[in-house]
Symmetry: D2
């Protein structure tokens, strides 16, 4: 195993961490050198993840220093705010970092607006590359700090970017997202207690109050009408989205339903689907199809399935994107960006197909 890149995983007792372990266990060029968790410190993998019992028998959950020390590349699946200082330490120690938290997704000013705090390490922001591979592939190779996108932002951005590139987006859109409960993390709370959450559906942090709003707006504001994507850290065109997430009673999955009403559009469903197909022509983890996507069709996988419709009568475009919030929405795309940054095949360690039923 000595040729393999050593990967350390912080936040390994959360869902993002489990997804990273699953994928890196399958990755031929990587070995997992350490797993970090304060809550499970000293315990073995099976104590935290019953489905992984028997794997990595030699490892115990360790503290942050031990994980950073052990590795060549650090994956952070730790909470926002707490992650930036860890990233700083890892970079200083010469590690590459894939950060699944929100800490390096926004410029310093936007961060302060949406997170209500001064960014703890603004000097590192200019190094960060936004790890939405399909849009930012051109700037990932060689980067030492990748900010992996939020799950809701991934689905909404993938659904809307082709419209932006085709000049069909205008200055505003509505993005309603359905999300499985694992998106809220593994810490129990009354609202997500099984008897409360089963058979329930509700919206939360509606229009203009969820922080992924800023991420969607920045990402789409960087799509140029010629299809080019501006760099992660440059300026972006103003664009507003009315983003409202909804929790529905399933463990995993995100479905983004995005509506916009372009002026003077002459469209058909087929032309609209071609806009999507052309935009994602060479992307191995994107599937554009005529049928509306089901979250189940991507459960356990690392891909996104998209579709769209144009309603002549109401003159609305509606575009759809389904992902597994734990796959393409989190660990999957973190490993995908890592692969592209390091020159590995884009889907190494990933699951192109999930499970059914």
């Amino acid at each position: 195993m000595s040729d393999r890149l050593r990967a350390g995983i912080l936040g390994a007792s959360g869902y993002g961490g489990a997804g990273l372990i699953e994928r890196l266990l399958r990755h031929e060029a990587v070995e997992i050198s350490a797993i970090g968790s304060r809550q499970y410190a000293g315990k073995g993998l099976a104590d935290c993840w019953p489905h992984l019992s028997g794997a990595l028998p030699e490892l115990r959950f360790a503290d942050e220093d031990a994980v950073i020390e052990s590795c060549d590349v650090l994956f952070c699946a730790t909470p926002h705010g707490a992650t930036a200082p860890l990233v700083k330490r890892a970079l200083d120690a010469g590690r590459a970092v894939i950060d699944l938290s929100a800490d390096f997704r926004l410029d310093a000013e936007t961060y302060r607006t949406w997170y209500g705090a001064v960014h703890p390490h603004p000097e590192l922001i200019s190094e960060a590359r936004y790890g939405l591979v399909e849009l930012h592939r051109h700037e990932l190779p060689g980067s030492r700090l990748i900010a992996s996108p939020g799950c809701n932002a991934t689905a909404a951005s993938l659904a809307l970017a082709p419209l932006a590139a085709a000049g069909l987006l205008g200055s505003s859109a509505v993005a309603n997202v359905l999300t499985g409960v694992s998106g809220a993390g593994r810490s129990p709370s009354t609202g997500f207690h099984f008897p409360e959450m089963t058979a329930d559906a509700f919206a939360y942090k509606p229009s203009g109050t969820h922080r992924h709003t800023a991420e969607i707006e920045a990402t789409l504001g960087r799509v140029k009408v010629d299809g080019k994507q501006l760099s992660s850290n440059g300026h972006f065109q103003p664009f507003t989205v009315s983003f409202t997430p909804h929790v529905v009673p399933m463990a995993r999955g995100i479905l983004a339903t995005c509506s916009t009403r372009p002026r003077d559009a002459e469209l058909t469903n087929e032309a609209l689907l071609d806009v999507l197909r052309d935009y994602y022509l060479d992307d191995p983890l994107i599937r554009v199809q005529e049928e509306l996507p089901h979250t189940k069709a991507v459960s356990g996988s690392d891909r996104a399935v998209l579709s769209a419709r144009y309603d002549e009568r109401s003159r609305h475009i509606v575009s759809f994107c389904a992902i597994d919030n734990l796959g393409k929405g989190a660990a999957g795309q973190a490993v995908q960006a890592f692969n592209v940054a390091n020159g590995y095949p884009e889907t190494s360690g990933l699951a192109t197909h999930g499970f059914w039923p």
Copy 2:
């Protein structure tokens, strides 16, 4: 029991029918005289509805003629298209009719556009009153034919009507609805087979293709800016809605999330909530609250819970309405309209509170 009004129920082996039986069993002024079902003809109630075993022991599922013959008032929970002729027969026989199907919700021309067929009894349409009590209360007393609204249309119309009455709606809106699977009826199909449907979410019949679109547009097109509601059968203002329903893995419940972007609005969340509160001031089955509504909070009940938000940044209003699709969305409001039409207390037989968890 001789003083009670005799109610016959067609389609009693479907979910709408079960809901009617449950409510009319509790209704002090009504006795159920007959229950109709072709599939269960000759069988008893418990053969079809295990939860009702022991109730109505003397009844067997009967054919349509026997049901119409038995009753003073006929509730039809039968499929659209097949219902209009039954309504005709019942009216000719002197029965009052509460029709839960779509057959008398639209004018003849709109019906043809959306249902792709000439209306079989256009001469009866002018008699029909749209049974959305909160909007059409003024024209229900004494009516002999009530067209009970569709479940999606109920939720979306309740969420948007106060905006229309306040001049905040403009000419178009986006209405995304989450619906439980019972909305698709009781007939099994692969798509709703438990292993396929659990842990899945998807949109279907998107923007401009679901027939409830026409119902929402007509209903809102009749709301005057002074708050008055035009009659069920008069002309209505043009209004378009991009309506997209989504199926989520729960048995019952509807959540409508409706977005609109009024010009030049100067709004606050509190002002917006007051618009809703004022509009539904005297309605016993409507609750307006600051917290976003959960479908579970109305499961098993016949009421609707609404809320709304204004996003200054993106200038979108988002309004929300949660109902039980089988309660306020179907049997509940059918009985509510029956009560108002006949001068009974509005909530007789209804459930103001449901169950939790």
Copy 3:
């Protein structure tokens, strides 16, 4: 309302408490005088129970003293161990008590064995009557302390008692119970966090380790072969049950599957069903049927549905009982026992039918 009995409810922010509120709101002879909860002290009902918003608008959650002070009869849905002192205070203050906790279900010695502590108020045990109405109806009228049975014990005892009375039980049985997650209460924990619990099934506290074992053994040990039931507090015949509960991913419902292998039995399915039918002949909340019971058929109701089979080949009797753990398994039977104790109609305030789907 001055003629009504005033009921106070402790533990009103738990599932047992919600069930009591729902039933007592419907009870014509009772008014709810106070609701107790430390966690929600000072808040209103809707803050805790969204489905009950609008009910009891004048009440706020209060402390134990205020609740005891307010009422004629006290319902305790509080944790075991903590409840006995509250019962003592209420009895001293002249209140009748219906105790849903485990504190007065067992004799002092059995309590010590299974709960690992000396009973705090052994002097009160002899007053307690076990509130399984179908078996202990004869000793409930006039009692001032009723110990309402545990949910698992209710289902298993109802399934096995007719066999015991018919001499078909022998000295041991296997009782496997499936239970919905609300049986574990409303406090969140990782194991019952929605993403962990959905799509999972598991056994816990297996054979001989769950405390309801003692309750089942005592209850069945008091069934005499002539069908008579000994008093709640007398001696009982030795009987052992291998009781293993299983949690399955649903909010509510219990299904007990009980197996026993009587010596020399000459049985048929029909004869076995008659044993059950005869035993529960006059019980309004028991239904014996040939079809195996579904938990859904009793969801939201306060009744139990039973069936049984005899397998000639393996010579096992298997008997089944389905209840709603929150209905017949908790609040429902507490109110049922209260009714019988006080001379009200047995089903006052109760739901003979639940909901479907």
Copy 4:
């Protein structure tokens, strides 16, 4: 790909078929040569299995002859009764066969008793090897007809076999199984329609009426007390099991809870666990652990997790086995047996770890 063994799959539009496709796609020594389905004849894989869209783009569902013609080894995931003639044709054409149906699991006489029909090809039964690898590993290499076990029988047999081998089983046991709904197949029916099945649990085909009973009895009747397993087709000791399956609302997973009451046992929990550990010492897909197994911990995997307890008080042993009914219970163990029969690594193409949550 020319070196690979060509595998044909009949019944490829059912859940067993999907599982086979998923595993054989990952199998380095196999290529899928054809997929059979009458219902989807002429269609592509994505029309039937959305999660596999993009895989096997060159294949169309074909008829039985084409599938048999195409392959070296035939996997049959077709209904019992209909499969035996297909097996006959495939064997005559020189194919090896892995049969997931029940057609070759029992001797001719037992088959007639439980399936109510004369076996259509009794002459082939003596060739069949029972594909429960952990018990029948010794006789699988070189076999050309493998009868892959039923899902319930797999779980119950794995839980009870170590007890039989240790002389702890006696002449009878109780086996209660919880099963996910996919065990009933993919054809829709009212009982498994999502709104009916969600939030429901029930037993079906109780003690002595489910056909897997015969399979469990035969398998355990062949376990010798020295631990050796008799051949699939020889005589077996009489043993009866009271087997009762229960359907619980989850898509996949089986949990067997098996109880027996050995005479004169002197046992401890730890000694009992050692009995299980020793029995499965070298089995890569079996995990014995102290914690009671969860079905979720094996979802998506091909392994079984076991535990057991001894209750001194009631003198019952309870042993537990969790599997994924679609993994170790069906496609997984079919491929496992195929691997052992053909000299491939036992876990080729299989998933030792599944997914969570």
